[in-house]
């Protein structure tokens, strides 16, 4: 049978089988499973048919809980149904999983296993989510590689139909789900052959139908529940045998053989590792390597973990074994052992009792944890586990892959141990997210995978920052099967696609002796050496690397590709890596270029061809001098004056050495210091804004809109300029109140992302040259050093006394210190200006509950976090609970603050005799203004002093809660995916509660963080993932829904359209003593345009009437006024003028022009109708009475 070889990732392999063998697919985005749902949705949109020649129904739900409910329903009514999920999503499915299994329903869920959030969230892979479902009654089937994922997805589907036990098919998130590998794709015939029509009919016959009605899902009592529950046992007993049979049938069809437990190694091993998942591939490679050296080591791969078949396990278990280590990729604190370990111990014991294992079999069984949150698991670690088994004093429970200096559980690993075979190409590429390195590498894998007999593997490591993110690509090519599911640490080809990385990373560390080092360098072969930092020079010399340079940016510019260097760097790789004969490789590159760029027109194609030719012509080998030269060193990851924790821990994480940080360095409970982004100078802007004081009108718009808080204004005493650096700019302050003082706008050159929103917002034009504004972008490198000095001097200038400022004016807000700075958000992010504004206004007294999403990632992802502190050490206190519960989480903050306040007041009253007038002063304080709050703080400080001298138990109790006597500002922050979809039920409950919380909805109109999936905030006519044909339904009007309560403060704002209205709304929302919802328009990278135009788009959104600005203040109703105030004018431009500036809308005119036209028309009608309704509602009461 001819086999269709493809190079795909495991998510695609799983989706391929799942899509073809199901009819209903309910989906919800969650990393790292999202792409399975996206592919299913895409295929359905393209009309791709399943094995029954029909297009599956693919439907997005509002949460994983919703998806599992829909799946349960669809199964009950007899459709073959599936879903894809991971981590918290899987946890949300557990209630339905119990039901589905309890009802013996055939179904498969495909899970890219991901860490469940505990002390921290992690998007990466381990088995903690899967292990949390052990008690649901689902079969758990583990795949270890991309090939297996495709194969097991089908085997699971076949088996569930026969066993009636539902299957959770899982594989390691990221390591397997996102690994691109060459594998054989299942054919439709193979899939048809595996799925029995009779069993599908039986599934349908079990469905709910009024034509043969029955009831399923009864409530039962103590008399019968137990017996009825035990009734399922035969199905579970039969299940392993049926799976084994399905595997055998599969082998007969495809030639690929699997068993429930697969042993790898010599016939009579003494040491055995048992595990499942991608780690088994690593162990496989290591066992092969050691066995070749006659080491008596073996591996038992667990495929079907549940139902755990003791019999099959006993059969597969080599009886010669004296030492067993069972490795779990999960942690179950407090358990006698991790789950697989516990099962193996039980199975050995039971196997002996049953006589399947000889009674004399007495191995020592150790349990080890490895690989949590995708922690690297390498052959050296496997070897270390075998070594541990050899020790008489081996730890019964150990960890591998970390340095545990607290409980000393970790085993020693020899970093030099390697099993990588000779003759295999191992290439590591350092690039920027924006420079196309990853796509070029994906194309190289395709070229080699599809055009040659080589096996190919690619894995990509991304940065946790969204702007200027570094990508590291790990590629392997070779003739042998590739089991190496770990990062490359001994590369024979290392490429650095960005010269600026040299000062940050020593990339020669991953090179093996004699490897090739390719550098994209503005310096030619004769001059580059002195520009290379010493550690890299030494690495090149010590390892005798062959060093090549190319000026890819110069070539790109010459041939017209601007900054796209991907084709050039890809050509260099093929030219010097010798992975393929050079001419053949170049031909393939050109063919692939045609495939990728052909549609974009002849000239783009020609530019790329030229790029290939020029790359070959301008690639030079450097004659490496005999010794290191020059004084250039690498920049330290953080400055020397950073705090100790930042020096010891954060700096290592920044430098890419987080793996080396020992257990003791970390807090035990997930608590980290804030204010750390200021120490990470990422230096990612190619251009930064430069200020011209002579044009500036000092309006403060630039600093207000800056998403990264890198451009700031200060008014200060002129005398302070005496110590200013030479290039520090200043001018007279244009404030009546501050006459005689000086004013400066300063940019932090190493924190700026170069988004240019400040320049766009600048209204001050040179009268003689209207093209010139008070701010203009200029090349960063020449400005870097001087402006860094200026920035440090600027920071040393005192902040203006807040009491002297009018905080309701944008001009004055620029003088308020931002307590949210330098986040890792996308350059030009539309969300962060709102958060920064809130931090400026209320940062010293705010607690933030942050829903999972972009704002929790740029708000809380290590290594450094942006919430910071003022000079008094006060600042936002921030936490993230989950995605779905954020409103409730924040309401909990309020409940606690209110209770503590109430309790404090009670004690205060009781102690008032001891405290004199102070108690009364505190109890009656007016905290409606910042001055009032500061006065209360002073009183509370005084109170604490007094309490220390009062020897009563109440005094100590009051001291512990006295801070709650100062007003706190509770902010519940999240995106539209949370507020409109998964968290809406909670949000609704919280705003109905009447409690004083402030909810900020950062509305990007899609699930931005997971890559732009449709939410109920997505507008009609916009294309999003899961809405490839344009969203047919209108955006949910959350403002209107909240207004319907009449007791909720509601505002809809757009910073870029009307900053004054935004400020007003935020201040009113905070001042309102009940629940407030502020819905903020956030332009987003997922809208598909250069975010430098974000402010224009915000204006257009408002002017078109798409985003009417409004404030609804219930307090006004009490005064007899209309609570609803419309803050924007009637639509003045057609919707089309706004929407077609954005790819999310315009792409539909390319894909489905008729649909685009229809949806645009409907969307325009939505705008018209809604405006009329708002206008009607906003008529002042007296006018209404007259009309």
């Amino acid at each position: 049978m001819s086999q269709n070889k493809v190079t795909i990732d495991a998510n695609e392999a799983a989706a391929h089988a799942a899509y073809h063998t199901n009819e209903v697919i309910a989906i919800y985005p969650i990393t790292p499973s999202s792409s399975m749902g996206e592919l299913a949705d895409q295929w359905a949109a393209e009309g791709k048919r399943n094995i029954w020649n029909t297009v599956p129904q693919v439907t997005e739900m509002q949460s994983e809980g919703g998806a599992s409910g829909a799946v349960h329903g669809a199964l009950q009514v007899g459709a073959l149904t599936t879903t894809f999920t991971a981590s918290q999503g899987l946890l949300l499915m557990i209630p339905n999983m119990f039901k589905i299994a309890g009802e013996l329903t055939s179904a498969v869920f495909h899970v890219s296993a991901r860490t469940v959030a505990t002390h921290a969230l992690s998007i990466f892979g381990d088995h903690s989510d899967v292990m949390a479902t052990r008690s649901t009654g689902w079969a758990l089937l583990a795949s270890n590689s991309v090939q297996e994922v495709g194969d097991f997805a089908l085997i699971a589907q076949a088996a569930t139909l026969e066993t009636r036990v539902p299957f959770l098919h899982f594989f390691d998130g990221f390591r397997t789900s996102a690994e691109v590998a060459k594998c054989v794709q299942l054919s439709v015939d193979e899939m048809k052959a595996m799925i029995s029509d009779g069993l599908v009919r039986a599934h349908r016959e079990r469905a709910l139908s009024p034509d043969h009605p029955f009831i399923r899902g009864t409530a039962q009592n103590p008399d019968v529940f137990f017996q009825a529950r035990e009734r399922i046992n035969p199905y579970y007993e039969a299940c392993p045998g049926i799976v084994q049979k399905a595997m055998e049938k599969f082998a007969s069809l495809t030639g690929r053989k699997y068993s429930l437990f697969d042993y790898v190694g010599p016939a009579n091993p003494e040491k055995l590792i048992i595990l499942m998942g991608s780690g088994a591939e690593v162990a496989h490679e290591t066992v092969d390597f050691l066995a070749a050296k006659k080491e008596p080591v073996g591996l038992l791969k667990v495929r079907l973990y549940r139902p755990f078949s003791v019999k099959h396990f006993a059969e597969a278990l080599p009886k010669s074994v004296k030492q067993i280590a069972v490795l779990d990729r999960t942690k179950e604190p407090g358990a006698a052992g991790e789950p697989l370990y516990a099962d193996v111990v039980t199975a050995v014991s039971e196997g002996k009792a049953k006589g399947w294992i000889p009674a004399g079999f007495q191995p020592r069984i150790l349990g080890g944890r490895y690989g949590l949150s995708s922690k690297e698991f390498t052959p050296a670690m496997v070897k270390a586990v075998f070594d541990e088994m050899g020790r008489a004093d081996a730890r019964m429970h150990f960890t591998v892959g970390i340095q545990d200096d607290v409980t000393n559980l970790s085993v020693e690993v020899d970093p030099d141990f390697s099993t990588e075979p000779a003759g295999r190409t191992r290439a590591v590429f350092y690039g920027l997210g924006s420079d196309g390195t990853v796509s070029a590498n994906k194309s190289s894998i395709k070229i080699i995978g599809e055009e040659t007999d080589f096996n190919a593997q690619g894995y990509f490591v991304y940065d946790s920052k969204k702007a200027g993110s570094v990508t590291i690509s790990h590629l392997r090519f070779g003739t042998d099967p590739i089991h190496s599911s770990y990062l490359i640490s001994k590369a024979n080809f290392v490429a650095c696609h960005q010269f600026s990385f040299l000062e940050r990373f020593d990339m020669t560390r991953v090179a093996e002796p004699g490897a090739v080092f390719l550098l994209n360098s503005p310096y030619g072969p004769d001059e580059v050496w002195e520009h290379v930092p010493k550690p890299t020079q030494e690495g090149i010399l010590r390892k005798k690397l062959r060093f090549y340079v190319i000026d890819a940016y110069k070539i790109a510019k010459e041939v017209g590709l601007d900054v796209r260097i991907n084709t050039i760097m890809q050509t260099c790789f093929f030219a010097i890596s010798n992975v393929l004969p050079k001419d053949e490789a170049i031909r393939y590159i050109k063919d692939y270029t045609k495939k990728s760029y052909g549609k974009r027109g002849e000239s783009v194609l020609q530019m790329n061809y030229k790029a290939v030719d020029q790359a070959l012509a301008q690639l030079h080998e450097v004659k490496v001098p005999a010794k290191a030269a020059g004084t250039l060193d690498m920049r330290p990851p953080v400055p020397k004056n950073a705090p100790e924790f930042v020096q010891k821990v954060t700096a290592k994480i920044i430098a890419g050495q987080g793996d080396d940080v020992p257990v003791s360095a970390f807090p035990a409970d997930g608590t980290f210091p804030s204010a750390t982004t200021r120490w990470e100078k990422r230096n990612i802007a190619l251009e930064i804004p430069v200020w011209d004081p002579s044009i500036c009108i000092q309006c403060g718009k630039c600093s207000s809109i800056c998403p990264h808080a890198v451009i700031r204004g200060k008014v200060y005493d002129a005398a302070l300029l005496a110590k200013a650096p030479r290039t520090f700019k200043s001018t007279d302050a244009k404030w009546k109140e501050f006459t005689g003082m000086k004013y400066t706008i300063q940019v932090s050159p190493e924190d700026c992302t170069g988004c240019s929103l400040c320049v766009q917002s600048c209204p001050a034009k040179d009268k003689k040259n209207p093209d010139k504004k008070a701010l203009g972008m200029q090349s960063q490198p020449p400005l870097r050093e001087a402006e860094s000095d200026n920035w440090n001097f600027f920071l040393s200038l005192p902040n203006m006394d807040r009491n002297k400022l009018k905080v309701n004016q944008v001009k004055d807000i620029q003088l308020l210190e931002p307590l949210f700075e330098f986040s890792g958000a996308c350059a030009g992010c539309g969300e962060t200006p709102y958060i920064k504004l809130i931090s400026q206004l209320f940062g010293d007294r705010m607690i933030v509950a942050n829903a999972t999403g972009c704002s929790s990632i740029y708000g809380g992802n290590l290594p450094t976090t942006p919430y910071t502190v003022n000079q008094d050490g006060r600042g936002p206190a921030w936490s993230n609970s989950l995605f779905e519960d954020n409103a409730e989480f924040g309401m909990g903050f309020r409940l606690a603050e209110d209770k503590k306040n109430e309790f404090a007041r009670e004690i205060l009253k009781a102690l008032s005799a001891d405290l004199g007038g102070l108690a009364d002063g505190i109890l009656t304080a007016d905290q409606s203004t910042e001055t009032g709050i500061n006065q209360q703080r002073a009183r509370v400080a005084e109170l604490k002093k007094k309490l220390a001298g009062i020897q009563k138990p109440e005094a100590a109790q009051l001291a512990a809660v006295s801070d709650s006597l100062v007003k706190k500002s509770i902010w519940i922050v999240g995106g539209d995916g949370w507020a409109y979809d998964i968290g809406y039920g909670g949000l609704d409950h919280v705003i109905a509660s009447g409690r004083n919380v402030n909810i900020l909805v950062l509305d990007t109109e899609v699930y931005s963080n997971t890559g732009g999936q449709m939410s109920k905030a997505t507008p009609r006519g916009a294309v999003a993932k899961f809405a490839a044909g344009g969203k047919p339904a209108p955006k949910k009007d959350l403002a209107m829904m909240a207004m319907a309560y009449t007791t909720v403060y509601v505002a809809r704002v757009a910073f870029g359209a009307n900053d004054a209205q935004t400020v007003k709304a935020i201040l009113e929302a905070e001042a309102f003593s009940g629940p407030s919802v502020v819905i903020a328009y956030c332009h987003c990278i997922a809208h598909g345009y250069d975010l430098a135009n974000g402010l224009n788009q915000q204006k257009a959104a408002v002017n078109s009437g798409y985003w009417p600005l409004l404030r609804y203040n219930p307090d006004l109703a009490k005064e007899g006024k209309n609570p609803l105030q419309l803050d924007s004018k009637a639509p003045s431009i057609p919707l089309e003028q706004y929407v077609y500036q954005e790819t999310r809308y315009s792409m539909l005119t390319k894909s489905k022009p008729e649909q685009a036209k229809l949806l645009l028309q409907q969307a325009q009608e939505d705008v018209n109708t809604r405006w009329k309704l708002y206008e009607h509602m906003a008529v002042p009461p007296q006018d209404k009475a007259q009309s």
């Binding site: 393209e46 991304y462 974009r600 390319k1150």
Partner: protein, 329 residues
Amino acid sequence: MDLASLYMGFRLRNPLIAASSPLTGEMDSLRRLEDAGLSAVVLPSLFEEQIEIENNRLDENLLRGTESFAEALSYFPPLDLYRFGGEDYLDLIRKAKEALRIPVIGSLNGVSTGGWIHFAVEMQDAGADALELNVYFIPTDTAVLSGTVEQMTLKLVRDIQSRLRIPVAVKLSPYFTALPNMVRRLDQAGARAVVLFNRFYQPDLDLESMSVVPGLKLSTSDELRPRLRWISILYGQTDADLAVTGGVHTAGDIAKCILAGASAAMVASALLTGGPTRASVMLRELGEWMESKGFQSVGEMKGILSHRSISEPAAYERANYMKVLGSYS
């Protein structure tokens, strides 16, 4: 009454052609234009920039931010689902050819020879009966010589014409120093017709934002006059057919075009304001006027008020100018 006119080798049922406008970009209005009596349609101009730059921009926007962040390796459904700029244009030609009996003329707007001109062939293959090449170039560089602009235009026409079987018309700007010579050379380069004149967009200055705002106002009958002058000068001096575009609003305007020597009058603004049915009124009134003047056919009218009948056209022009100036005194 015989309203038929020969234009680019087509026997048109009358001389009124729908010029390139949003109305010719949609099947509904194309059908209505045919029903209203228009004798041919020029589809909206596909800009050189649209073909490649728009594709590039779309691609750039779709790729923006991709492969940078582990949770969001892309932000849109994949490219394969999308058709690139130009493809819908070809579709429009195909659909128009299927639905209409009158000639369908494709329109390309460009200034210089480049990779994009292969699109002319694709338009031909999609079924376009003819191609109108809209040469839209505003020289802003003081170093560019008038001869260079002319050569660039001629090369473009030659390059396109040599690739096509279908006839090519060239829509020109009024800003040529020696228009008759330019037209002759275009004729020699293979142009089957010359369309006078292109209406450039008319930028305005916004005093509030202190910026330039692009814009285009609909034409009025007043704009017809310079076109009539040049048609009447060119008539009989070139083998290329002549057509007027810009300022054709009434039956009288059509008649003037024919009398000056045009084979066709193209209309857009009048139809955009009055709807396609405006054309049927214009054609009916044209017939009525011809009848009142005793014309049996458009052929008889063509060029009878052109400069051909005048011995020294240049002198005639200057003399008339003096007369006109005098009339204001």
